[in-house]
Symmetry: C2
Subunit: 101 residues, 2 copies
DNA sequence: ACCCTTGTTCGACAATAATCGAACAACGCC
DNA sequence: GGCGTTGTTCGATTATTGTCGAACAAGGGT
């Protein structure tokens, strides 16, 4: 089954904001904002792989990321263009902040 | 005691995002974005006054609003200038969305 | 002084969300 | 086929958060 990646316009903005309102997920988004595709395993932020998988699911279901299978890995990327079109300035504003103290 | 209204730069962005990631609070922010000062009681979004007071506290402590006493009321206003300076585009992006379905 | 209005605070409770280990699934490789 | 790697899912636990009613506090009338 494909991981369901909803249409961004179907997602209430509160869901998007809630997805971004977590330190671990924000670190993931920061990493993804560097560009390109990242394997799930490349995000090591001090949580178990179960927790990491959970956070990636939250991001995906909030419409923030897309995922595709590649061998035994899964490659994740930020839906930057769509996000910037629907919420101009949001990602920039969030990413402009320094790493949380 | 004065309600403590922190310096915006002291507040992790995740706190700001979490404050905005709630339907009731977002409706309050939308109303405040119309400009000017609003009495707490003017926000009737189907929750009790205890809950409303709680949400206003969350917004205040996240640095999104300022409150001043005026007689028996309290007047709340959005810290728009500061927010736009620190997070350019964030409020606009969030407020541009239509009322949640 | 009394009361009404406006908010806040205090438990308490319910719902949501973060976290983990363990079990499971899919893939590639030897 | 069997094994290691990479992720996901399940069930349980804990922490956080939204919600309310009731009690309280501060003001402004009259």
């Amino acid at each position: 089954m494909e991981p369901h990646e909803p249409d961004l316009t179907d997602i209430p903005v509160t869901i998007v904001l809630a997805a971004l309102a977590d330190d671990v997920r924000l670190q993931i988004v920061r990493a993804l904002a560097e560009g390109g595709e990242h394997a799930c395993g490349s995000f090591d932020f001090g949580v178990s792989k179960a927790t990491r998988s959970h956070h990636l699911k939250v991001l995906r279901e909030a419409g923030l990321t897309r995922t595709r299978a590649a061998g035994t890995s899964r490659l994740v990327r930020l839906r930057r263009d769509e996000l910037d079109r629907l919420y101009p300035g949001l990602l920039d504003a969030v990413l402009s902040t320094r790493t949380p103290a």
